[in-house]
Symmetry: C2
Subunit: 199 residues, 2 copies
DNA sequence: GTCTATATGATGATAGAC
DNA sequence: GTCTATCATCATATAGAC
């Protein structure tokens, strides 16, 4: 029987604590405004130890973004759609997606902050967006199977409109807007489709 | 005959050059990553002069945001709607709004970067959003006068969906998405309304 | 109002003891 | 692997000559 090294908090894993602290502080104050000293203090380790695990502060940021990846979890949200009624399904998707964004607020904040200056991050952000548009579009298409005759491009546009709204709601909007806006938005998206709603 | 002091580049207005340089550099690299020295160099003035005109670097940022205000210009875009056909009007509004956002890319970049950490800026951003939702909603309502019987709240939701899409398209989306997406989005927004389109 | 020179403090990173 | 002490650099901001 081999030892499982993937526990949540391996006894003295200073590296993990540094990553956690960096993630929190980068998100709260931005990359440049966060000092390595502050990270070390928050992590409860001496300042020098950071540079034992990471060659530079920038490499630390890269590790945070790489090892704590938002992409995967957000994508799985889309997969959880096993409801027959399109309206309910889209509502579920929206709520879960926004919740997921809010749960990863720290990472999305980093993305939002740094994509403007770091080309690499911008491309990651862009790829993520397009991937999700495609995922949502195919989800909608499945949901409407047989119930609707709209062309594929219309569905894609709806998926994009949907996602863009979720992005603003989940990342930028603060405080949260009118309570029933999400519901209304879903209705708008489904409004133009020739649905045979009679479940 | 008095002298007009509101020319584009008043003979030696170092202050203006400092503001210009600060705006550009803050937008390109963020507030913290931009040094006052870099601003001075870009403006072609000695480093010390910045602190003659502005008490601190942060005050300089505040001045940039206050004196180069996006709010006004963006609001006027909405006013330019004097077309009878709703679809054409919304298309015009969308295109102009996005163009305006792109023209003020530097300022929107600063807003996007700093609203996460500076409470003041966040509130400014939020107020701007809500003001524009209201403006767009009332524009749509005027456009649909007599042609539609949808309740006010539905119109508001449409306006918000519209604006949120414009925000992502104008500020975040890069490179620009599928060419006809804006058109498709407008169609989606108008899709659910009981229009008597027969112009 | 403009410019030079510089104070003062903090930052990322290193060297080396344990 | 962990920690202390410290270096070299560069930041914002000031003092004061012109």
């Amino acid at each position: 029987m081999t030892i499982d090294n993937t526990k949540e908090l391996p006894p003295e894993e200073a590296r993990t604590r540094i990553l956690n602290a960096a993630q929190t502080l980068f998100a709260a104050h931005g990359f440049n405004a966060t000092t390595t000293k502050a990270i070390a203090e928050a992590a409860g380790v001496p300042g020098g130890l950071i540079f034992y695990y990471f060659p530079s502060k920038k490499a630390l940021l890269a590790s945070v973004l790489k090892e704590r990846n938002v992409l995967i979890e957000l994508s799985t949200v889309v997969e959880t759609l096993r409801v027959s009624d399109p309206r309910t399904a889209l509502m579920t998707l929206a709520v879960h997606y926004i919740e997921s964004l809010r749960q990863h607020r720290e990472l999305t904040a980093i993305l939002l902050r740094e994509f403007l200056s770091h080309r690499e991050i911008a491309e990651q952000f862009h790829a993520l967006r397009e991937e999700h548009v495609a995922l949502i579009a195919s989800s909608i298409q499945k949901l409407l199977q047989g119930k609707c005759t709209s062309p594929a491009q219309q569905i894609q546009a709806r998926a994009r409109t949907f996602l863009y709204n979720l992005i603003v709601i989940g990342i930028i909007e603060e405080p949260p807007a009118p309570p029933h806006f999400i519901e209304e938005m879903v209705d708008i998206l489904l409004g133009g489709l020739q649905l045979s709603v009679n479940a």
